[in-house]
């Protein structure tokens, strides 16, 4: 008994010593009170040099945390345990967070650099007047493929994925909206379609794709495609950029029937404490020179018109990642379909996955 008490006492004292030590460490690094800003971002989605530069210029200390899905991020913000001052969700998540009052309005007078953003990316349906969100990056959904392994297929049409030559040779990314959306697009329907007949038709068409599908995977798709494990894959343009960085033989194309256009925007979650600092950060990221450097590092498409001019012609003139007006007109943004429809999309996706070869 005595021994037990002693052990408990020891653990107790040790815990307090550790808490004190952590506090001391934080203070010596400058993490105290109002001069910190907590950024909650996707992994590997900012040039780390820029964080240092922001710290120097603003005198704020940046605490950087990452998430791997919009849903995980929203859950964490909803629980409210941690104070996040900045987050970077995708458009449908912004709409949802807005509905659930998880966002704070952005004071446009504090972000003068907003003027550099291309008009095309402002005032979009998911956040009219950009009341709650400022564009960070954008992109498309398309096909990344190895020209030597696909014969004469060009993927100018989604139907090329159904070609017999690709038997057991394509990867799909593990997303219900993306895969069902591709099915709808290939039939000429909108990827926000909620008509049950159209959805069943899309499922029917997708089930005939099964023999070609080697696997439906998550983030590993980048590693697998760069390693040439399959000839073609359905991916986000950002992932495609990374894959092509690793393996230059690969190509990316957005099929002409249309596809998804997505946005990742900076927002200030309702958990924010350093709201001034958050505005400073947003304004800093919109600076043309900073945005250009960030684009070079991340490889996604920037909505910043002034930054695009600073970039190399090789990047800014790349039609694969900056598609022309004609194609852009056929791209659609995901609308928030509501929880019931989203659930239905997922059930359809589950059914598609259940098809055996």
């Amino acid at each position: 008994m005595k021994q037990l008490t002693r052990i408990f006492l020891l653990i107790f004292i040790a815990s307090f010593a550790l808490i004190y030590l952590v506090n001391m460490l934080n203070r010596s690094e400058g993490y105290a009170g109002n001069n910190t800003i907590t950024i909650y971002n996707w992994g590997d989605y900012i040039d780390p040099e820029l964080i240092e530069r922001f710290e120097e210029e603003s005198g704020l200390k940046v605490i950087y945390q990452t998430f791997d899905s919009n849903e995980a991020m929203m859950t964490k913000i909803k629980q409210g345990g941690t104070t996040f001052d900045i987050s970077i969700p995708s458009e449908y998540a912004i709409e949802k967070m807005k509905d659930e009052n998880l966002l704070l309005p952005i004071d446009h007078s504090k972000v003068p650099n907003l003027q550099y953003i291309d008009q095309r990316f402002l005032d979009l349906s998911f956040d009219e007047g950009n009341e709650y969100s400022i564009p960070y990056f954008w992109g498309t959904v398309g096909v990344v493929y190895h020209p030597d392994l696909v014969g004469d297929l060009t993927f100018d049409s989604w139907d090329d994925l159904w070609d017999e030559q690709l038997k057991n040779n394509i990867f799909l990314l593990d997303g219900a909206r993306e895969v069902i959306g591709m099915g709808l697009n290939s039939l000429g329907y909108s990827l926000n379609d909620t008509n049950e007949e159209h959805l069943q038709e899309a499922l029917q068409k997708l089930s005939t794709l099964t023999p070609n599908v080697k696997a439906i995977v998550g983030d590993e798709i980048k590693m697998l495609m760069a390693g040439e494990e399959a000839a073609a894959a359905l991916v986000w343009s950002g992932d495609a950029a990374e894959i092509m960085w690793e393996n230059e033989a690969l190509e990316y194309i957005v099929p002409s029937e249309g596809s998804n256009l997505w946005f990742d925007n900076m927002v200030i979650p309702s958990t924010a404490r350093n709201i001034d600092g958050a505005h400073q950060f947003i304004n800093f990221m919109l600076d043309p020179e900073v945005a250009a450097q960030n684009t070079e590092y991340v490889g996604y498409s920037t909505p910043n018109a002034a930054a695009l001019e600073l970039l190399d012609e090789e990047i800014s003139g790349d039609e694969r990642f900056y598609p022309d007006e004609e194609l852009t007109a056929r791209l659609e943004v995901y609308e928030n379909l509501g929880p019931r429809m989203l659930s239905h999309y997922n059930d359809l996706f589950l059914e598609f996955k259940m098809h055996r070869k």
Binding site: S69, E71, A72, N168, F171, D174, A176, K214, A215, I216, V217, G218, E220, M223, L224, G227, E228, E229, P339, R340, L342, S343, N346, D347, L350, E351, K353, M354, R356, K357
Partner: protein, 271 residues
């Protein structure tokens, strides 16, 4: 006096039980009666009996059975040989060692090993079998799962074998039983509890595997675990996720009941 102190000592255990075992199960059952919009409904249970979910349940069962069967087939001889070796502690450590490494790391390693340009395929090329697709097949899924679960099968069987009184084997031999008859009539029945404990330790987690189904099987194998993960993380349809979890709990209880482990065998799992 003594009885009272004993009850006091029991309090932390009961608190633990209520907070971390009973309460979560009740919460799961509670959530299973609500739809996405937060209304009370039985629809989740109806949905579970549609062909999609029934097929998923059957395929989960089938793969869990396969995994358990192959684990047992490998683990029993291994455990048996283990009791015959000189440095038991060392061999046992070597078997347990891989379970110290994170599951995800092991899965990623297998992606490399089984890939089109991986070691196994390189070997196949040399031998003349030629390049085969190994990754994203049923084979790779069962193989990697067995690899991961095998220590949980070996340990209880090993314990049961160790606990067995060797004089019983000598007696069987004295009375003229061949080694096969000794094994069938004496050794195996006496280690049956270990086998049951091992099967439960493998079958139940195998039923709700989810990371491996994507990393190793490329979502070509869909288990109930995958569906739960999707409903909680992607659709936020916690009700449906909880309903599947309720059925998993029921299935597990049935399996344990069938194997008759409630009374005696369970302490073998802990050992």
């Amino acid at each position: 006096m003594e009885a009272r102190t004993r009850t006091i000592y029991l309090i932390p255990y009961f608190m633990w039980l209520v907070l971390f075992v009973v309460a979560p199960i009740l919460l799961i059952v509670y959530y299973s009666f609500f739809n996405v919009e937060g209304q009370f409904t039985f629809a989740n249970y109806e949905k579970f009996f549609t062909p999609v979910y029934m097929k998923m349940t059957l395929s989960s069962f089938w793969y869990a059975l396969l995994i358990t069967f192959f684990s047992l087939a490998v683990a029993y001889p291994t455990a048996y040989l283990l009791t015959k070796t000189k440095h038991k502690a060392l061999w046992l450590l070597l078997i347990i060692l891989p379970s110290w490494i994170n599951l995800l790391l092991k899965a990623y390693a297998f992606i490399g090993i089984f890939g089109t340009y991986g070691i196994v395929n390189a070997l196949f090329e040399v031998v003349g079998i030629g390049n085969q697709q190994i990754l994203f097949t049923d084979f790779s899924f069962v193989f990697v799962s067995v690899y991961i679960f095998i220590p949980f099968m070996i340990l209880p069987i090993y314990n049961a074998l160790e606990k067995m009184n060797p004089s019983l084997i000598y007696a069987a031999r004295d009375l003229g039983a061949s080694s096969w008859v000794t094994f069938r009539k004496v050794i195996f029945p006496l280690t049956l509890d270990g086998v049951k404990a091992g099967c439960i330790a493998v079958f139940i987690p195998a039923l709700s595997l989810f990371m491996l189904t994507r990393l190793i099987a490329g979502n070509r194998v869909i288990t109930l675990g995958t569906a739960i993960e999707q409903h909680f993380l992607v659709t936020e349809d916690w009700g449906m996720g909880a309903t599947i979890a309720v059925f998993l709990i029921i299935i597990m209880a049935l399996v344990m009941g069938l194997l008759g482990l409630r009374k005696r065998g369970l302490d073998l799992v802990k050992r």
